[in-house]
Structures are given as C-alpha cells and as structure tokens.
C-alpha cells in the first residue's frame, strides 16, 4: 500500500476542558474524494485547520503530503488548496485581481499568472464575470471563485470546508460534479466536509462520520451500511393492482419462502421483511399466483439512516 497523502495520528485538540477533536486517526490516499461528515460543532473545521497548520494540535500529528503540518506549514500550504466555509474576498478588487493576488502569493511567475487565472475562471464557469468586483458576486459565484482560488495554485490536495453551504440545489449538483470531474481528471485528492449527507453521498469515494470530535466510522457507503445494519432485515414493498382479500389464502405458502420472516398487508401494499435480499423470489411468487404487480421497492438504507443511526448512538 502506498503512502497516504493525508495521515492524521492521534490528533487531539482541546479548548479548555472541551475536547473538540479527540484522538483522531485517519489516512487518505492519493486521488481519493473523502467526505468528512458530521453535525455542526463536531470538530470538522478544527481538524481541517490542524491539517493546514492554522491551529496547533494539543496532541498527535497531522502529516499532509509528507510534511508535518504543525512544524512546517509552508510546504503543506504550497501543496494544499483550502477553501474555508465562509469565503471572503477583497471587495475593492475585481475577481481577476483577487485571483491574481493569490497566484502571486503562491509565487507563480508574473508572465503566466494572468493566463492561469483566466483558465481557472473558465474552468469554474466564471469567464463572463472576470472584471466584476467581488462585492457584486452572489453566494454561488463566490463559491465558484473560491474553487478557482484553490485551483490556481495547482494543488495536490484540495480541502473544502462546507463547500455546498448556501448554494441552491442545482448549483450544488453542478458544483459537486465539477469537483468530481476535476478530481478524476487531475488526480486531485479531495477532502470535503459537510453536514449535508446527500451532497457527500453524490461525490465521495469514502466517508468518515465525525461526531463530537470522534471519527465513529469510515469506509465507503456499502461497507458503512453493511456494518451498521448487519443482522438487520431487509424490507421489500410490493404494490398490487387489486386489493388483497383477508385472510389471504396464500399466506402460509408465502411464509414458506426462503428468508421471509414477516408479512404486513395494508390494502394493496404488502410489506415483506426478510433476513436477506430475496426480492426476485417474492416477485416471482406473486406473478405465479396471478397477482398484478404494480411496483416493487427494495428499501435500502441510505446515508440518512446511517447518519441518523450514528448520531443517535452518540447522543445516547
């Protein structure tokens, strides 16, 4: 296994007696899109700040791109693009000037700085707003400019803190697609934090759920739901065209099917609880018995459930 590009070991940050981040261990591989998911105040931003050396950990180390972020933040910042949750630009400068300023701070040669700024603005779709003052920018445009601001330094790692905050749904989708596209094209490692489950679900390869300073679980969506709902049953919802007459004549026969544990009938809807996923058999049963099946829905455990579950656990 190759060296992880972000490696946190035993990272702890205390504010007084409050532990904002508690013994965090995490490694992220190159090219991955990792979602740091957690409710407000879970310590996501604090963790990110420690990765950039903007705040010092109480204990533990954060290694980014092979550098210790606490002791040598400058090389880390050269490789990492960070977009904070509340973006601010110099309002008396135009978008292009703001970008070029950041480019200059990153030591991009004067000759290519303008060209690069223009190309990243094209990349994020702001090519028509280049000479507008940033004070006239909308929230979504600022977010895009923030992304351009991150990309102009051509980073290896991109850290986005709540990138979807305050953008409308279609904007979010576009934004996340853009991030994913960029990550795949340029091999960027992306770490994004959010409390919006659905957004994270759309783009992330791997997710870590972070509550009260602790990383409760990490993995891709499948393993997360498997871990959580192991031993739990599946539910299949079958909708028929006609009402079932009760008592149902095929009930005992149906219950003989492999894995079927429970049956609930409500008008035309039949809820079947089973120990494993045997939707095809259930459908076949109904079809063979001459029922007209209108729809079959396999209830999957989405991120909402996962999140809810972990969040509940941590509260209790």
């Amino acid at each position: 296994m190759e060296n992880p590009i972000i490696e946190l070991r035993g990272l702890t940050k205390c504010y007084g007696s409050v532990k904002a981040v508690d013994d965090l261990n995490l490694s992220i591989q190159k090219g991955e899109i990792f979602g740091l998911l957690g409710p407000n105040g879970a310590g996501k931003t604090t963790t990110i700040l420690m990765m950039l050396g903007l705040t010092e950990p109480t204990a533990g180390t954060a290694h980014v791109c092979g550098y210790n972020a606490t002791t040598s933040p400058i090389p880390v910042k050269r490789k990492v693009g960070y977009m904070p949750d509340s973006l601010g630009f110099y309002d008396n400068m135009t978008a292009l000037e703001n970008l070029m300023y950041v480019g200059e701070l990153n030591g991009i040669p004067q000759a290519e700085i303008k060209e690069r700024a223009l190309s990243v603005m094209r990349m994020v779709g702001l090519e028509n707003e280049i000479d507008k003052k940033t004070s006239a920018y909308s929230r979504g445009m600022k977010q895009r400019l923030g992304l351009a601001d991150v990309l102009i330094k051509q980073p290896d790692v991109v850290i986005l803190d709540e990138p979807t905050l305050g953008i409308d749904p279609s904007g979010v989708k576009e934004f996340l697609t853009l991030i994913r596209q960029l990550s795949r094209q340029q091999g960027l490692t992306v770490l994004l934090s959010s409390h919006h489950l659905h957004h994270v679900q759309q783009v992330c390869d791997r997710v870590g759920i972070f509550v009260k300073g602790k990383l409760l679980v990490e993995g891709n969506m499948d393993t997360l739901s498997k871990n959580l709902f192991e031993g739990k049953s599946f539910e299949v919802l079958v909708t028929l065209r006609n009402k079932l007459t009760l008592p149902w004549e095929h009930e005992s026969e149906f219950l003989q099917l492999d894995g079927v544990k429970q049956l609930g009938v409500n008008d035309r809807e039949i809820t079947v609880t089973c120990s494993h996923d045997n939707t095809p058999e259930i459908v076949r049963f109904f079809v063979l018995k001459g029922y007209e099946v209108m729809g079959v829905q396999r209830k999957e455990h989405g991120l909402d459930d996962i999140y809810q579950k972990y969040f509940e656990n941590s509260l209790n």
Partner: protein, 335 residues
C-alpha cells in the same frame, strides 16, 4: 534620447523574466493599493494637506518679519522659519502634526487585522504559503510607505514653494533638518500605527479597536500630562523654602515622566530639529549657560540632543510591534 528609449525598452523586456516577487512585497503592494483606493485615505490626505497648506500660507505671510527679526538667532534659516512661523491664529505645522500624526496612524491601522478576519480574507490568505509575520509586516510597511511618501511630498512642496516665492536657495543644513523632521514624523505615525495594529489584533471588532486606540491617544495627550503634574506637585514638600537643586530635581522628574508619552518625545524632537537655537530640552543652570553664545547649534549637535527621543520613539514602536507579533503568531485563525 532615442538610444535611451531603446535601452529602456530592452530593460523592460528583460524584466519580464525576473523571478516572482516575494510574498511580503506582493502583500505590501496590495496593502498600499487598497489604501490609496479607499475613501479613508483620501479624507486623511485632505486633512493633512489642508493643515499643511494652511500653516504654510500663514508662515509665508509672516516670513518677512521672522527673517528680519535680528534678535532671533535662527532668523536666517528661511525654510525652518517657513515651517515654524505663525501669527498666533494657527499653530505651526509640527505642532498640528503632534495631533494629526496619531489620527493618521490610528486610522490607517485600527482595522488592519480584525476587519480582514471578519471579511474572511484572513484565513484565505493564511492558507497560502506565506509566513504569518509577513502579513503583519506588510500591514505595517504598507501604511508606513504611504505616510513616508506623503511627508516627503509635503516637504518637497514646501521647499519648492519656498524657492519659488523667495528665490533663496535652501542650505544643506536646512535640507538635512527638514528631512530628519519628515523622518521623525514618519516614526511618530509609525508608533501609532503599530499601536493600532496591536489593538486590531487584540480586539475582534474594528469599532472597539478604533475606540481603544483613540482612548490611548486622548489619555496620553490630555490626562497623562495633568496626572503627572498633579503627582509631581504632591511630591514637592509644602515648605516655603525649597533649595534650587530641589526645584531642579523636581523639574527633572516632571520632564522625565512626561517623556514617557510619545507625543512629548515627538514635540521635543521636532522642536529641537526645527529651531537650531534650542540647546537643551530641560532646565539649564546659569553655570551651564555661562560663556554660551546665543547662536544656532549645528545639525549634528541638535541631532545629539534629540537622539534619546528618537530612540525612545523607535523603541515604543518596536515594543508594540513585538507584542502584536507575539499575539498573532500562535493565534488560531478561523473565519
């Protein structure tokens, strides 16, 4: 001429290949440009220019009398007279500056760090590969460069106008004195600038830091002097006969305490530089005066007299700067 243009062109094309400038100078440049574009600076500029031209106008009106006043040992220093002569209606420029300087410094620095923090630009800039002290240095240097250019321009205007109106060439000594006056003005503004930057780090609201800075200024210019003279008066024993040495020592104490205030240091330094006949900033005994000819001191001697004041100003500036450095370097930056 054309060859000069050609060589200039050659230079500019070569210059496109220079390595990118260091982050510090990039930041200083942005700092200066944002100040110049701001209304705040325009207002301050207007205020300083108004003061300057007002006092110069008054002194041009009275310059004939001042130069013809043979009793005054400084009467031949035409340009110094231009800066210091008044008719009593408007204080001289250097006196006005002891009020305007703090205002200039405070208003250029009071929101240096906290407004950037509030706008969310601070965390974005610090996420770039720049050292934190570069940010502080750029705030300080940027404003100081502006102030320096401002005073340099004003003094050059004054000298130019003086040559134009009177036809008298400026002497080297006068030029040196006026230049050092401008430098001391910049240092004085620099002290208030570093104090207000310090307060802008300590307080998170720009309004609070502005108020705190103005409070310090008011305290040092008004209440401090009253307080010190009250304390010294209380120390003087209430006997009808006090020996001369006692009076001297109490006076000395009073001056020493007063010189803890930067405005006093500034006034002492500028007075000595602009009035070459000032020989001492404290009381002088008759023995010390014996044999002294009432003539102006040389530039070097005046400079020797104000040297403690100048180093005091610099030390105070550095103390503020060091403290802001200490506060800022390890602070957590979040938006």
């Amino acid at each position: 001429m054309s060859s000069f243009v050609v060589s200039f062109r050659k230079n500019t094309t070569e210059n496109t290949h220079v390595p990118p400038s260091t982050p510090l100078w990039v930041m200083v440049r942005r700092e200066i440009s944002s100040h110049i574009r701001s209304w705040r600076f325009v207002l301050l500029l207007g205020l300083v220019a108004l003061t300057f031209f007002g006092s110069i106008y008054v002194s041009f009106g009275n310059i004939r009398d001042a130069v013809n006043n043979v009793k005054d040992p400084d009467h031949l220093f035409l340009y110094l007279k231009l800066l210091t002569t008044t008719d009593g209606n408007l204080p001289a420029f250097h006196v006005l500056l002891s009020f305007l300087g703090p205002l200039l410094g405070i208003s250029l620095g009071f929101d240096a760090v906290n407004s950037e923090k509030q706008n969310g630009t601070l965390v974005r800039i610090l996420a770039q590969p720049v050292y934190r002290d570069n940010l502080l240095l750029s705030k300080f240097t940027g404003s100081l460069v502006l102030v320096g250019v401002l005073f340099l321009v004003l003094t050059l205007i004054m000298v130019g106008a003086g040559i134009f109106v009177t036809g008298v060439m400026i002497e080297v000594e006068e030029a040196l004195r006026i230049l050092s006056f401008a430098i001391i003005c910049v240092m004085y503004v620099g002290f208030w600038l570093s104090l207000s930057i310090l307060l802008s780090i300590a307080f998170s609201q720009p309004a609070t830091s502005a108020l705190a800075a103005i409070g310090v200024w008011l305290f040092l210019t008004v209440f401090y002097q009253i307080g010190i003279s009250m304390v010294v008066k209380a120390l003087v024993p209430n006997t009808p006969i006090i020996s001369e040495t006692d009076i001297l020592s109490y006076n000395e104490l009073l001056f020493r305490l007063l010189r803890l205030a930067p405005s006093q240091l500034f006034t002492d330094a500028t007075t000595t530089l602009l009035m070459p006949s000032v020989r001492s900033l404290g009381p002088i005994t008759m023995e010390q005066m014996a044999g002294a000819i009432p003539s102006p001191l040389s530039y070097k001697e005046s400079l020797m007299i104000v040297w403690p004041q100048v180093s005091g100003l610099i030390a105070a500036t550095f103390a503020c700067f060091a403290l802001s450095y200490y506060l800022f370097m390890r602070r957590e930056v979040r938006s």
